[in-house]
């Protein structure tokens, strides 16, 4: 709940657009970004023009590598027909979240009051090389140690099962429940790559890609783009009567190499960014009923539920297991702890909506924007009218970077 006397918003979202996610073989990345950009400009209630945008903040992981290009701001200016300041951030899977973070910084600095934040990725252009490319987000020694990106999360999951599961089959069930739940959530999402239900048993029977991670524990290889119009809080009301305010924008980093971290069963950058964001927003985790969480692999959503403080360390799997048992069959399945409930990934998350790496962090805000405005259609989270806060959690690599943004409808 955003308090009237609580912290003031630092920025606002007044428009959002995205493409469908999937294997979009015939679209080039620029086309996807333009499509999402135009949709977001046109979505602004009171209308803005392309030339009202004062600066652009983009995020993409593989664009430079795939297309063998530098000077991305120039290419983007060419696409947009604008000569404004444009910056491009690469932060692996958090490139989108970092673009939003940078856009908010641009607003906070006072230099701009209307900016565009965009994320895009065209992973299918590297269809047979993507396994190698994803390792750019890992330490080179991990690549040389035979790891794949899935393998890195697999050693985290492996250690989690060892430390906390201790042979309890329900822990493995919880890892599958996350996938099953998120696919269930995506059934109402017209943009989602996979609008298809998977039972817990089906997840547990799917192929082992990097033991113990199975195919259906993984988010897919996707193409897509998403864009936002972000303004100063003061400017927002000129654009729409129902802006979604940003109360916290935080980023934290950590060692890329897993071996350099204290443990493998949580993500320090999440803990740091979450703690700072909650403090900035003046909120407790139990007060946020909706979360877009970086479920690139289901273990990451499990770890987030602990790193965010919703569940105690080592206990998220129990909470997830118990929550699922109690709420099977609903449109959205919340995680429950005492009186607190949170719906995680109402549109299917990375797992089912898709994970075009650089677009994800922006897509998360798109989802939250629509949810808080009550415009999420068949994906709309049912509430008794108090759905007034949400957060987005975006991870790069295995936690080398994390961005957290907290949103509200305003006091």
């Amino acid at each position: 709940m955003v308090q009237k006397d609580g912290p003031k918003p630092i920025a606002a979202v007044v428009g959002a657009g995205r493409t469908k996610f999937g294997e979009l073989w015939y679209d080039n990345p620029e086309k996807l970004l333009v499509e999402a950009g135009l949709e977001c400009v046109e979505s602004v209630d009171k209308g803005i023009g392309r030339k009202d945008i004062q600066a652009c903040f983009f995020g993409s992981f593989l664009y430079q590598h795939t297309n063998k290009r530098g000077l991305i701001p120039g290419y983007m200016a060419q696409e947009l027909g604008l000569n404004i300041p444009i910056s491009m951030t690469e932060a692996a899977c958090a490139s989108g979240g970092a673009a939003v973070y940078n856009a908010v910084l641009g607003i906070q600095s006072g230099k701009f009051d209307i900016v565009l934040a965009g994320g895009f990725e065209k992973m299918s252009d590297r269809v047979d090389k993507i396994m190698d490319d994803l390792m750019f987000a890992a330490d080179p020694h991990e690549f040389d140690a035979g790891f794949t990106f899935i393998g890195l999360y697999a050693v985290m999951m492996s250690r989690y099962l060892y430390d906390y599961g201790k042979g309890d089959e329900r822990c493995l069930d919880a890892m599958a429940i996350v996938a099953s739940k998120n696919h269930h959530h995506a059934m109402g999402n017209p943009y989602a790559q996979y609008r298809r239900e998977f039972t817990v048993e089906a997840v547990k029977r799917s192929a082992l890609v990097a033991d113990p991670v199975r195919l259906l524990h993984c988010s897919p290889v996707s193409d897509g783009a998403a864009s936002l119009i972000i303004t100063s809080p003061e400017k927002a009301k000129e654009m729409t009567d129902t802006p979604i305010y940003i109360y916290a924008s935080q980023q934290a980093t950590d060692s890329v190499a897993l071996s350099a971290r204290d443990n493998l069963t949580g993500v320090k950058s999440t803990r740091l960014a979450m703690g700072a964001a909650l403090e900035q927003a003046g909120m407790k985790i139990s007060e946020i009923p909706l979360a877009e969480v970086h479920d690139c692999f289901t273990i990451e959503e499990v770890m987030y539920m602990e790193d965010s403080g919703f569940y105690n360390t080592g206990e998220a799997w129990k909470g997830i297991f118990d929550s699922y048992k109690d709420y099977e069959g609903l449109r959205h399945i919340p995680y429950v702890r005492g009186d607190a409930e949170v719906i995680v990934n109402p549109g299917g998350g990375l797992k089912a909506d898709g994970h075009p790496v650089g677009a994800t962090g922006v897509r998360q805000v798109f989802e939250v924007y629509r949810q808080l405005r009550g415009e999420a259609g068949d994906c709309q989270v049912e509430s008794d009218g108090d759905l007034d806060a949400a957060l987005c959690h975006n991870i790069g690599g295995t936690g080398g970077i994390c961005t957290v943004h907290i949103f509200g409808r305003g006091a």
Partner: protein, 499 residues
């Protein structure tokens, strides 16, 4: 990867180099020049984990490998720790083929592992072959962990000879069904990440451990092989860097050497040169390492394809703490085209039956008989006789013809169980014989290299052999290891060709 990046990785990865803050004890891999806690004022200490043992902290079975590891196939990658030093590094389990289906990874947590020098990958755009020690095998498996204890050489100067040796045989084997092929019943083969270079490093590492010799005392390294990893780039440079015979980065240990080729006697030919060098004042050192190493090549389906093996043996020559003196030497050479491979050709060719009487037997028997005459020794004065062993039949026939008995031949007839190691053939057999020799024993070794020539040596075992014996990994133990794994011909052929 580019050549400069490869060079920087070599410095870190060959020996698992790390740094430790001397103030707060924090460890860093890869090495850092300052400590996070102590800042720029920190005092950092260089450490390496080449000889240490670690444990698996968390692992995964990579069923769908990256392009770099396609040759290796499914494997375990993981985070490994060296608990005594609070250091964790990423790594890969080698010499291990995961079973199909789910693996109980929890049961592997905490299991002891030993770093192994292996090839990470080849075939990248730079054309380089990349190696590291971020590979581990289970400590309770085929490859035992050995402490590397350095003992200062004694003051006493003796006749030059062998001061330490190490034989490395790979874990994987293929059987020749029935009675074997010319007496060869089973053979060693490389794992997917092994090659002549990795064999050389492993053998050299064991030789240093056996000799208990400070690696920086070795001032020259020769590697004899006919299956070099590169057409141009010496294996000895990799061995020198990995074993720290030479350069410690920005510190400067001086050491030289070269690779040599003379078919199967590329290494043994240099034993006398090594012994001579350690007596030569201008050389500036007292120890020379000579390694014979091969992933022995044969054209698929060729008769040799059923007798070739893989592995290496390293010998350190010096004149202090000698376990076997080099007493006599001679060499006999002629231009005999019995077996050869031109640049760019993948497999050697040979003259079939021409490789027998006019080639192998002529040179071996001539050299052996001349050696007996030169040394004044009769066959009965010799305890063990070792001959180059392209198979188990040729050396027995030649030795019997020269007046030796089957008892003198048998301990050096390792070929029957490991195959023909080409440049490593006589050296590995010499290692097997030294494993069981007693002080005073005399060993006659006659090598043969196609092209063609024979080197004949007489060694006399000294009292020192007993005190070093506990530091050897006996050849017979490797041959009979309960952990060796048999593979079929298809797997064998794949391993031979990618190594």
């Amino acid at each position: 990867m580019s050549e400069p990046i490869a060079r920087r990785k070599i410095i870190v990865d060959y020996r698992i180099n790390a740094t430790k803050c001397q103030d707060c004890g924090t460890m860093y891999f890869p090495p850092k020049s300052f400590c996070y806690n102590e800042g720029r004022a920190s005092h950092m200490e260089d450490l390496d984990f080449f000889y240490k043992k670690g444990a698996l902290y968390s692992g995964t079975v990579i069923n769908t490998p990256s392009s770099k590891f396609k040759d290796v196939g499914a494997h375990i990658s993981g985070i490994f720790e060296f608990p005594e030093h609070s250091l964790r590094i990423p790594g890969r389990i080698t010499d291990y083929i995961p079973p199909e289906g789910s693996v109980d990874l929890s049961s592997l947590v905490g299991r002891e592992v030993v770093p192994r020098f292996r090839r990470n990958y080849s075939g990248s755009e730079d054309g380089l072959v990349h190696y590291s020690s971020l590979n581990f095998s289970f400590g309770d498996e085929y490859y035992p962990h050995q402490e590397y204890v350095k003992i200062e050489p004694s003051e006493e100067v003796e006749k030059p000879g062998i001061v330490g040796y190490g034989v490395y045989l790979p874990k994987y084997r293929i059987k020749n069904e029935g009675g074997g092929v010319l007496g060869v019943t089973e053979r060693t083969l490389p794992f997917a990440d092994e090659d002549t270079t990795t064999f050389s490093v492993e053998a050299g590492k064991r030789a240093l451990i056996h000799a208990a010799l400070d690696s920086t005392y070795v001032k020259k390294c020769f590697v004899g092989t006919e299956s070099p990893t590169y057409a141009v780039k010496p294996i000895m440079a990799t061995v020198t860097q990995a074993l720290e015979l030479g350069e410690k980065f920005e510190d400067g240990y001086f050491s030289g050497g070269t690779d040599s080729q003379f078919a199967c006697k590329a290494a043994t030919d240099l034993y006398v040169d090594a012994a001579a060098l350690v007596n030569y004042p201008a050389f500036g050192g007292e120890h020379v390492m000579v390694i014979g190493s091969d992933n022995s090549q044969a054209s698929p389906g060729d008769p040799l394809d059923y007798t070739v093996g893989a592995g290496a043996a390293a010998f350190i020559f010096g004149r202090r703490d000698v376990i076997a003196t080099l007493d006599h030497y001679l060499s006999y050479t002629s231009d005999t085209p019995d077996f050869y491979r031109r640049e760019g050709e993948k497999y050697p060719r040979h003259g079939g039956r021409f490789t027998g009487t006019p080639a192998y037997y002529k040179h071996v028997l001539t050299a052996m008989k001349a050696m007996l005459k030169k040394s004044g020794l009769a066959p009965e004065d010799i305890n063990y006789v070792i001959l180059h062993s392209p198979n188990a039949s040729f050396p027995q026939r030649a030795a019997l013809q020269a007046g030796f008995t089957r008892e003198q031949i048998a301990p050096g007839l390792t070929v029957a169980k490991i195959g023909n190691l080409y440049s490593g053939s006589c050296p590995a057999a010499l290692g097997a014989v030294l494993d069981i020799s007693e002080p005073g024993d005399k060993i006659l070794m006659t090598a043969y290299g196609s092209g063609a020539g024979s080197d004949s040596y007489v060694f006399t075992v000294t009292d020192k052999i007993a005190e070093k014996r506990e530091r050897s990994v006996p050849v017979q133990d490797q041959i009979e290891s309960p952990h060796k794994e048999y593979v079929d011909y298809v797997f064998y052929r794949k391993m031979k060709d990618i190594s």
